[in-house]
């Protein structure tokens, strides 16, 4: 069958099928599957030739049509109630449902054309209304507040304020920031390494006091290990970590 009509865009495989059914003037309940499958495949081929995007949905439908065609050539399948099953039944149902919504879409479109002739108004609230402030309802505002409550809130506030003063710290003169000079520390650790050659990590840490000092020491060791100045050994889990110098040894 030659395709003389210019290819129109179809809204999916069902749309194309309906078009074919319509064109061939056949009953949707009694689709001559062989004919329709031929024509459907013809369209798919034409679509591909025209470099149209033939989506998987069209191909799935093609496969479904071929499947139905095969089943119709075979002896009829019988369902639990002993009735012969028409392989087209499912497709017919789908087509009918789709056709119904397509029909309703046209119906809706007509309504839209009628409804489009109504014009509306933008919200336009007069200034007098916008600037209106409702008088304050003091009874509602004050609610269950009374003098006693006001008093107790104030007392609670005073107490909270006193609690805020840390009695110990407030007695201290000044608390000075502990300064750890990283360069100095680095120098110290390097000297330690030079002097000791081989020592345990614990021995090194024992000389450190604050958290910051320990952190800096740890980082200097890691750095020296990375640059190959040190070798680190640990014989067993939680065992002594032994550090030996590669450079000064």
């Amino acid at each position: 069958m030659a395709l003389e009509v210019k290819l129109q865009a179809f809204e999916g495989p069902l749309d194309l099928l309906l078009h074919l059914i319509d064109k061939n003037k056949i009953d949707i309940y009694d689709i001559p599957i062989a004919v329709i499958t031929e024509q459907y495949m013809e369209y798919i081929r034409a679509m591909q030739k025209d470099d149209m995007e033939v989506t998987s949905e069209f191909l799935v439908m093609a496969a479904t049509l071929v499947d139905i065609k095969c089943k119709m050539l075979l002896p009829k399948e019988v369902n639990e109630e002993g009735e012969e099953e028409d392989p087209r039944a499912e497709l017919v149902e789908k087509l009918l449902e789709y056709k119904m919504y397509k029909f309703m879409a046209d119906e809706l479109r007509e309504r839209q054309m009628d409804a489009d002739t109504h014009l509306y108004r933008k919200r336009n609230i007069p200034d007098e209304v916008m600037s209106y402030e409702e008088p304050l309802d003091y009874e509602q505002l004050i609610g269950d507040a009374n003098l006693a409550k006001l008093n107790s809130i104030f007392q609670a506030l005073l107490k909270r304020q006193e609690d805020k003063v840390d009695p110990i710290r407030s007695k201290f003169g000044k608390i000075e920031k502990e300064a750890v000079d990283i360069d100095q520390k680095t120098e110290y650790v390097k000297n330690f390494i030079r002097e000791h050659n081989r020592f345990s990590f614990r021995a090194l840490l024992e000389k450190q006091h604050s958290k910051v000092e320990i952190i800096v020491t740890f980082m200097v060791i890691l750095e020296a290990m990375k640059t190959g100045e040190l070798t680190i050994e640990q014989e067993e889990t939680f065992g002594e970590i032994m550090i030996s110098s590669n450079v000064y040894g």
């Binding site: 999916g12 009694d30 839209q112 014009l119």
Partner: protein, 189 residues
């Protein structure tokens, strides 16, 4: 408040708000009960139905909105900037009709009926404010459910979803009878 006064108040509210106003908001604002407000709306509607009125009243799911009568369109296009018409493609119309009749419905069910992926169409309809998310289906993956908006009712001139045009029962019957007749006539494979 007399019926006339109530009608005037409702008219002023609808005129000012522009958008649709729910019956309950009208009751609150005018401090009246439902039956009075309904009566006044009816009175207003009758007033607008007269030839001398260029304004009409539309109902959208228990909300009301003023609009111009469609007969006035010819004069309005000469002066007013008419809103840009949303032209819906066939794909969008199909998708919209499925959502309108089957709501609440998931994207997947729309796809199942159309036989083609409809995500794009659904998203466009949401953009046009014709379709909205209604919640999620209590099923694996908790897919979104879609339904139509008030704007849909307005754009398609429908008062409520119950008023959507029904599928011609006669047509369905016709289909079936045709099919039954032809059951005997076996198809040629």
């Amino acid at each position: 408040m007399t019926k006339e006064q109530g009608a005037a108040a409702i008219e002023a509210i609808l005129f000012t708000m522009g958008d649709s106003v729910s019956v309950s908001a009208l009751c609150n604002a005018t401090d009246q009960d439902l039956s009075d407000v309904r009566e006044q709306i009816k009175y207003l509607k009758e007033k607008y139905d007269r030839e001398e009125s260029g304004i009409g009243l539309i109902e959208l799911e228990d909300s009301f909105q003023l609009c111009t009568k469609s007969e006035m369109y010819e004069y309005l296009i000469k002066v007013a900037k008419t809103p840009k018409k949303v032209v819906l493609t066939d794909a969008l119309m199909e998708t919209l009709s499925i959502i309108a009749y089957k709501q609440p419905i998931t994207r997947l069910d729309v796809e199942r009926i159309r036989g083609v992926n409809s995500d794009h169409a659904v998203n466009r309809l949401v953009e046009f404010n014709l379709v909205q998310e209604l919640g999620r289906l209590d099923a694996p993956g908790r897919p979104l459910l879609f339904g139509t908006t008030e704007q849909f009712l307005r754009s398609f001139g429908v008062k409520s979803l119950d008023e959507l045009p029904t599928l011609d029962a006669v047509r369905v019957e016709e289909f079936k009878q045709e099919a039954e007749q032809e059951i005997s006539v076996k198809l040629d494979i």
